[in-house]
């Protein structure tokens, strides 16, 4: 049965099915295998959290935690080995980045060539807010201010109404 399984990675899937047809020739099996799990629960939890941040490089937009690809398996084992050797999370990430480049990180670090990416959300918000503030200031004078005489007349009308 085992050898039947075509273990290729699985383009994360959900919508627009038809894209899927193209992406996969594949079987979703389990990502993390029972024999990969390390006995220390705290270390295993860190490994799982780290795995979610790391890309399976031969897959379509999939973390090594989700992927069935052999490469993802190797990377999961590698992450666990480093953690067991006493690496911090950052050291593991640095190690993998040195080995595979930034491509392995699903959340690219802020740098010159990702500045635009990271600044977009706040950028749109700020530009939009400025435009709105500008537009509302420009339109503020809805009509001429009431003159003193008009104000007096208004308060007189309001006072009459109260009686």
């Amino acid at each position: 049965m085992t050898d039947m399984v075509v273990r290729k990675c699985f383009g994360a899937f959900g919508l627009a099915v038809v894209a899927i047809t193209a992406l996969l020739v594949t079987a979703p099996a389990l990502a993390v295998q029972p024999d990969e799990i390390i006995s220390d629960p705290a270390l295993e939890a860190r490994a799982r959290a780290l795995s979610k941040e790391l890309r399976c490089m031969v897959c379509q937009n999939q973390s090594i935690d989700d992927s069935d690809a052999p490469l993802a398996h190797d990377l999961r084992v590698l992450v666990r080995e480093r953690l067991q050797a006493g690496d911090t999370n950052q050291q593991v990430i640095d190690f993998l980045t040195a080995r595979y480049g930034e491509f392995v990180l699903l959340k690219p670090p802020f740098s010159l060539h990702t500045a635009l990416l990271w600044l977009t959300p706040i950028g749109i918000l700020v530009i939009g807010a400025c435009r709105l503030a500008f537009a509302s200031r420009r339109r503020e004078p809805a009509g001429p201010e009431l003159t003193v005489a008009e104000r007096a007349r208004v308060s007189q009308i309001l006072a009459d109404k109260d009686m």
Binding site: M1, T2, M4, V5, V6, F10, G11, A12, F13, G14, L15, A16, V17, V18, A19, I20, T21, A22, L23, L24, V25, T26, A27, P28, A29, L30, V32, Q33, P34, I37, K52, E53, R55, Q60, N61, Q62, S63, D66, G101, E102, F103, V104, L105, L106, K107, P108, H113, L116, L117, W118, T120, P121, I124, L125, G128, A129, L132, S136, R139, A142
Partner: protein
């Protein structure tokens, strides 16, 4: 022969499209009622011919006519009938045919139900709609023709990708396309308004139901796709920030913004230009999504449109319609007068706030999706932008929307009283605080943020109900009076309330699933069991079974809770010889709003199986939320004020709500 008839019908649809694209708009320019009147019937005829083409292709699939390349590549004679039918759109060519089917359907609907539209507007709208249709008929006929024959027909087909052999394929793509493509109508209305250089509150009133209709289907389609991914993939994920998902999510965000800004325009004649721009943007994002998915640009490795013609063709369509739409907007915008002034703190102000944040969120998804492609193309750098990026950026952008959500509907038009509204929301805030406290107490030691997000969800839900509670005077007047008043409220009020309530529900589900799911991965032999929370799963054994076009290995688990047997779960693995593929059939057991989830992994010679077991609290709310939102939309759509073709509302509603 049937295939040729289908092919021919599509060509006729193209011809009708060309006529429709030119004639009614010419009539509108000439102010010729007779010429303009052709718009409706031709739109209906166009739909009829596309439907005939679609029916022809479906017939070929049902008959397993492998002399068609498309059928040969995507079908198999042993496939169950339902998958023969759904297989029609389970591939590039067929899905594009579904695309134009829905495009022409919306045109026909406007033709049939747009009786109260001004003739000029209707004629122009239908012409614009046909410009889009013609572009896509040409795309299908020139680059993606599903009716091509094979010289020497093979005996058996290559089968549909087994992962797509699921009831999800019957529902998800049609719903999604109805939403996606339905936005074309909003686009056509916007372009027509720019051509006519006339936009008023009535225009917004005509556009809103169409946008709402598309939005309802888009919401349901996205939710359905998410649920499908959840039960098929075997690791319980339901949203991956995959470019393909983002492609459908961006139009949804834009359409949501459009619905809200059209509200301002209809009620207050403000935000006219903005609404037009949003209508153009929403459909542009649909087109962009089509381009991303269809062109294969996302999958440089297994580019599935091996024919680069397709990508370039869609890109040209994209440039013409988006570029043309925006250019027309730039030219015509100064001619349209803005109206309706309002203070920053007002219902309008709240809706502008909503638009600002929704579009920022949409822009974030857009840039996140395209950035790696563009960076690689321009600089050669390869970076990845995945779920962790989107969670870190999209999440914080959505929080202000959620906080503001209960305030918006309670603020008065023109000039609102924020403090007064805050006081009216005291009860909702109190309920939220109780929810936070309860969640902290029950889940002490869990994720720190989760209880606060639960509180936010409760605030959104209670806040949504506040308006209704106030308006019917619940707890203040006798219950019977309150019920009578509730019945008298306009359906659009109920619709808006339910839609906002659904957002809160979905947020509850998302928080429960992402923060409090419990997982066990284990390898067990028959007779052994795994435990998870209060549940035990005993592996009784495995059996092999033969399906219509697959072999299946089933594992039978008896599920116990605190020792009592509550049922049986049978996850399976299916292997499809036609494609040498194995799929995982997960087993789900619903417990209230939560679910138990079992997926089977590797099986070993000694009979042991690898199993992934989950307990997912509140997970059903993730999809129930959007369903409630869509139901709210449908309720609003059925409001007589918006009902398609309904006359102007009579002012008789107040009679039902007696004075105090």
């Amino acid at each position: 022969m049937i295939a040729e008839l289908g092919h021919y019908a599509l060509v006729i649809a193209l011809m009708l499209g060309v006529i429709e694209a030119c004639v009614p708009i010419y009539g509108a320019r000439r102010n010729d009622a007779v010429i303009m009147a052709s718009a409706g019937p031709v739109a209906v005829a166009q739909f009829a011919f596309v439907a005939a083409a679609f029916a022809a292709l479906t017939t070929c699939y049902i008959r397993s006519d492998f002399s068609l390349v498309n059928v040969f590549e995507n079908s198999h004679s042993a496939k169950p009938l339902i998958y023969k039918i759904t297989g029609v759109w389970g591939n590039h060519e067929g899905s594009m045919l579904l695309w134009v089917l829905i495009l022409s359907l919306f045109g026909a609907l406007v033709g049939m139900f747009g009786r109260n539209l001004p003739a000029r507007l209707k004629a122009t709208v239908l012409s614009v709609q046909s410009w889009i249709a013609v572009a896509f008929y040409l795309f299908i006929l020139l680059t993606s023709n599903p009716f091509l024959r094979i010289q020497d027909p093979p005996i058996e087909g290559r089968d549909l990708n087994p992962i797509l052999q699921d009831p999800g394929l019957a529902i998800h793509p049609p719903l999604l396309y109805l939403g996606y493509v339905g936005l074309s109508i909003s686009f056509s209305f916007a372009i027509a308004a720019l051509i006519e250089a006339r936009i008023d509150a009535a225009w917004a009133r005509w556009v809103r139901p169409w946008t709402l209709l598309a939005w309802i289907f888009l919401s349901l389609g996205i939710a359905m796709g998410s649920y499908w991914a959840y039960y098929t993939l075997g690791w319980g994920g339901w949203w991956f920030w995959d470019p393909v998902e983002n492609a459908s999510f961006m139009p949804w965000l834009a359409a949501t913004a459009l619905l809200h800004s059209a509200l301002v325009m209809e009620k207050r004649e403000a935000l006219k230009l903005w609404t037009i721009l949003l209508a153009i943007l929403a459909f542009s994002l649909s087109l962009l999504g089509t381009f991303l998915v269809r062109s294969g640009v996302l999958t440089s490795v297994h580019a599935f449109a091996t024919d680069p013609m397709r990508g370039i063709f869609i890109l040209v369509i994209l440039v013409i319609f988006i570029g043309g739409g925006l250019a027309l907007f730039a030219v015509r915008a100064p001619m349209l007068k803005q109206g309706g002034l309002f203070a920053p703190i007002s219902r309008e102000g709240a809706l502008v706030f909503n638009n600002l944040f929704l579009l920022s969120a949409c822009g974030t998804v857009l840039v996140g999706t395209l950035y790696p492609l563009v960076l690689e193309a321009l600089m050669g750098d390869k970076i990845s932008v995945g779920a962790p990026f989107f969670n870190a950026t999209f999440g914080p952008l959505f929080v202000p929307i959620l906080i503001a959500m209960p305030f918006g509907p309670l603020l008065a038009w023109k000039r609102g009283d924020l403090l007064g509204v805050a006081q009216r929301l005291t009860a909702a805030a109190a309920m939220a605080a109780i929810a936070v406290a309860a969640a902290l107490a029950v889940k002490s030691g869990g994720p720190i943020m989760a209880p606060f997000v639960i509180g936010l969800a409760v605030f959104v839900m209670a806040g949504a109900l506040t308006e209704i509670v106030e308006r019917i005077g619940l707890l203040k007047v006798p219950l019977s009076t309150a019920i009578l008043r509730a019945k008298g409220l306009p359906r659009s009020t109920w619709g808006g309330t339910l839609a906002h309530f659904g957002v809160g529900l979905a947020l509850l589900g998302i928080t429960g699933e992402t923060q409090w799911s419990v997982e066990r991965i284990a390898e067990i032999k028959p007779g052994e069991s795994i435990s998870l929370q209060n549940y035990e799963f005993d592996l009784d054994g495995t059996t092999a079974r033969q399906g219509p076009n697959y072999r299946e290995l089933l594992a039978r688990f008896t599920v116990r809770r605190h020792g009592d047997v509550i049922g049986v779960m049978e996850p399976a693995k299916r292997s499809f010889p036609s494609r040498e593929t194995v799929t995982t059939e997960t087993a789900l057991m619903t417990r209230g709003l939560s679910q138990l989830y079992l997926a089977l992994g590797e099986t070993k010679a000694d009979g042991s199986v690898a199993v992934r077991a989950y307990y997912k609290p509140f997970v059903l709310l993730i999809w129930l939320g959007p369903v409630v939102m869509a139901f709210g939309g449908a309720l609003s759509l059925s409001d007589r004020r918006l009902r398609i073709g309904a006359p102007k509302p009579a002012r008789g509603r107040a009679v039902l709500a007696p004075a105090e």
